[in-house]
Amino acid sequence: MRVRFFARYAELVGRSEAAVSLSPPATVEDVVRRVREALPGAQALPERPLAAVNMKHVKLEARVQSGDEVALLPPIAGGSCRHT
């Protein structure tokens, strides 16, 4: 599956995406664990980040399968200034 990194997480791992293979059944949590083990810099990622699968917010317990796009999302900070 394709794992995507954004914003600060992309800076921490030095890339915007990576390919990960896991034996089924696998969860997003398994993907995060594999990424943190395998990619330089990824230890700095949180153990339980926000995540999306195929562009939908999911919990880390959500199942994933080959072909999915898993995104690890830094805390969302859209809108305008910090306190608006």
Partner: protein, 147 residues
């Protein structure tokens, strides 16, 4: 799929045109602008980035949710990405409805939804040359990354 993102200054006139309708007697506009206030420590601009495809999908769902709550409301939204200087708008939400209460409520619902579910991130660019990711709790990350 419609995009709710732009990399150029947001045109409020375009959004007002999108929602204009003879049935609507109240229109509420929310503009979020980049600020350099007393708490911002010399912000000159904010760099916005996003998971763009997901932003469009989530905005579509958020607006659908809002229309479910206020069926008569007409809502338009744009979020700007890229480097936005202090004073310019990063987001605009326009909600028109038959009555002002619906317009205000729908507009508020959308901006609160943006804060919770739209995957956009911002990095403060400061006058001293430092760059600081901003977390949703309103605090810069612990380790500023320098230019």
């Amino acid at each position: 799929m419609q995009t709710y993102l732009t990399r150029t200054p947001i045109s409020l006139d375009s959004l007002l045109t999108e929602v204009a309708h003879g049935d609507c007697g109240g229109t509420c506009v929310f503009l979020g602008t980049v600020r350099n206030g007393p708490d911002e420590q010399g912000v000159t601009a904010i760099e916005y980035s996003a998971y763009e495809d997901m932003v469009d999908a989530e905005f579509g769902q958020l607006l659908a949710d809002a229309r479910g709550r206020w069926p008569e409301a007409r809502i338009a939204v744009r979020h700007r990405l890229g480097t936005i200087p202090v004073g310019e708008a990063s987001i605009a939400i326009v909600a028109a409805a038959p009555h002002r209460v619906q317009a205000f409520e729908a507009c508020r619902y959308v901006i609160e939804g943006v804060k919770q579910r739209i995957p956009v991130w911002k990095k403060e660019l400061r006058v001293d040359g430092s760059e600081v990711w901003v977390d949703p709790a309103g605090h810069p990350t612990a380790k500023p990354s320098h230019v």
